[in-house]
Amino acid sequence: MNYLLQPYNYDLSDPASIPNLFLDHLYLVGITMLISLIIALPLGILVARRPRLYLLVITIADLLYTVPALALIAILITITGLSLATAIIPLVIYTQLVLIRNTATAINGIDPLLLEVGKAMGMNPRQVLLRVALPQALPTIIAGVRIATVTTIGIAALAYLAGQSGLGDLIFKNIATTDFDAVVAGGILIALLAVVADLLLLAVQTVLNRGRTSVSLA
């Protein structure tokens, strides 16, 4: 625990200090989730209600998901070098399965009767989307975002291997020098970030899910 308690590890002018690594880690996770959603949301909407296309896309996402992250980074380094891209691409690939699947499930779960009720009371297409379709679909989509975010926070430690700084630095840099205090600090911080993100997104999910059955904590 010593590492976490030393004031000089919080020196903001040092790029390797805990706060700076923490922010770098958040940045990696943030960029990953942004790109992931930009790809997965339209794809999920596209394959919803199209069973054959859904099967194809999900199978591909599933195959990619099974490639070990380490292997992927190793291959990518030969193509994109030690770069942000090499760090982000595997992370994005890992989020796709759960994001696409949940988005498609969410869209499929919209009750056509309710869309029609909205239309029958004189909603325009925008109102039907915002007042009827999205409120129904969002809880399931956010459930996927929650899983994807927590997973990404964990795997983002590997960004160190692509030369990108983040909380993974604490683990990988100090394993070589057997400074296990720092390694443990890295582990604790990553776990803490994951738990906080999970609880925050759970709160969002619960708010969005109002009026329906309670959200599972799992």
């Binding site: 029609e116 004189g122 899910n209 329906r212």
Partner: protein, 334 residues
């Protein structure tokens, strides 16, 4: 003046061999209730949904307030028309109060205070105490309670026209009757023009000034309950309205249908109970049995002029006559 006019309205769904609604023409008077009855698949829902353009007709036109609905903006049109369906379709993520006010919010032009007050009034009206139900969610309500919220929601904007597709279908007999009475009361107060699909002929007779009988997409007969009982257009209508049911005839046919002039009573000279001409045969029969009088004298309800007499024998003659030769004594339910 006709509020809604159907002119040879026809709908043929793609890939079907015959139209679901076939050249139907009739008028619904402003402030009246017209019931649509017919067997399953006869086109009632299709006809109803063409009024607010959830379904576009294949040919023909529907005119509301003198304007062809096909030339109106469908969104503006729907905001002026209340729509209630058996499946209700409350939004699960909104509270009961939010569900009721959503129609008014969409239509616009309501202040928050007026809306809050309106929501409470409406919940009260449909028998759901606002203090208890306002903040609940639909899944915390029974099916029948949800149906009442559905009615409140459609009434929120106080639309001049209401389309109701088996709105009381999921209610128990007692609640159903309460809602029917509620609707009759609303009708007396605010006079909406209502098109109401029902599978319950009792309900149709109770609520409808006019009843439109559909069969295989065609309008078979349009008339008052008494018209349908007294002069059914064909066997189908007679069966549908329960024309074979003696009780139903007694309940709806007026005493003037069973008048006779020369009776023992007339010979006796007037010491028999009098009845007004708009009473039903059933009321007359009960009175005869109760008083043990040989006859009732019937007076015109406006002029008080004596029209004739009614006896158990004349009632019996009228019923057997309306029956034709058959004496099937079954209630027909559809």
């Amino acid at each position: 003046m006709a509020k809604i006019s159907f002119h040879a309205i026809t709908k043929q769904y793609p890939g079907t061999s015959r139209p679901a609604v076939d050249a139907v023409s009739f008028d619904v008077a402003e402030g009246s209730t017209c019931m649509l009855v017919g067997t399953s698949g006869s086109g009632k829902t299709t006809l109803l949904r063409m009024v607010n353009r959830l379904i576009e007709p294949t040919s023909g036109e529907i005119v509301i307030d003198g304007k062809n609905v096909l030339q109106e903006n469908p969104i503006a049109l729907r905001r002026r028309i209340g729509y209630v369906i058996q499946q209700v379709g409350l939004f699960p993520h909104l509270t009961i109060a939010e569900n009721v006010r959503v129609t008014a919010e969409i239509a616009g032009g309501w202040t928050k205070q007026r809306l809050d007050k309106r929501v409470d009034e409406l919940l009260e009206l449909v028998g759901l105490p606002p203090a208890e139900y306002r903040k609940r969610f639909p899944r915390q309500l029974s099916g029948g309670q949800q149906q009442r919220v559905g009615l409140a929601r459609a009434l929120a904007t106080d639309p001049a026209i209401m389309l109701m597709d088996e709105p009381f279908g999921a209610l128990d007999a007692i609640t159903r009757e309460r809602m029917q009475n509620e609707l009759l009361r609303i009708q007396r107060d605010v006079q909406k023009t209502i098109l109401f699909v029902s599978h319950d002929i009792q309900e149709a007779f109770k609520l409808g000034e006019q009843i439109a009988v559909l069969d295989q997409g065609k309008l078979i007969q349009l008339g008052t309950p008494v018209d349908l009982l007294a002069q059914p257009a064909n066997d189908f209508v007679r069966k549908l309205v329960g024309g074979d049911s003696i009780l139903r005839q007694l309940e709806y046919l007026p005493v003037i249908d069973a008048l006779e002039q020369d009776t023992v009573a007339s010979a006796r000279g007037g010491d028999v109970p009098t009845f007004l001409s708009d009473a039903t045969l059933l009321q007359a029969m009960l009175k005869l049995l109760e008083t043990n009088a040989p006859a009732l004298a019937v007076q015109d309800k406006d002029t008080q002029q004596q029209l004739g007499f009614i006896t158990l024998a004349s009632i019996n003659r009228e019923i057997t006559h309306a029956h034709g030769h058959k004496t099937e004594r079954t209630e027909t339910a559809i």
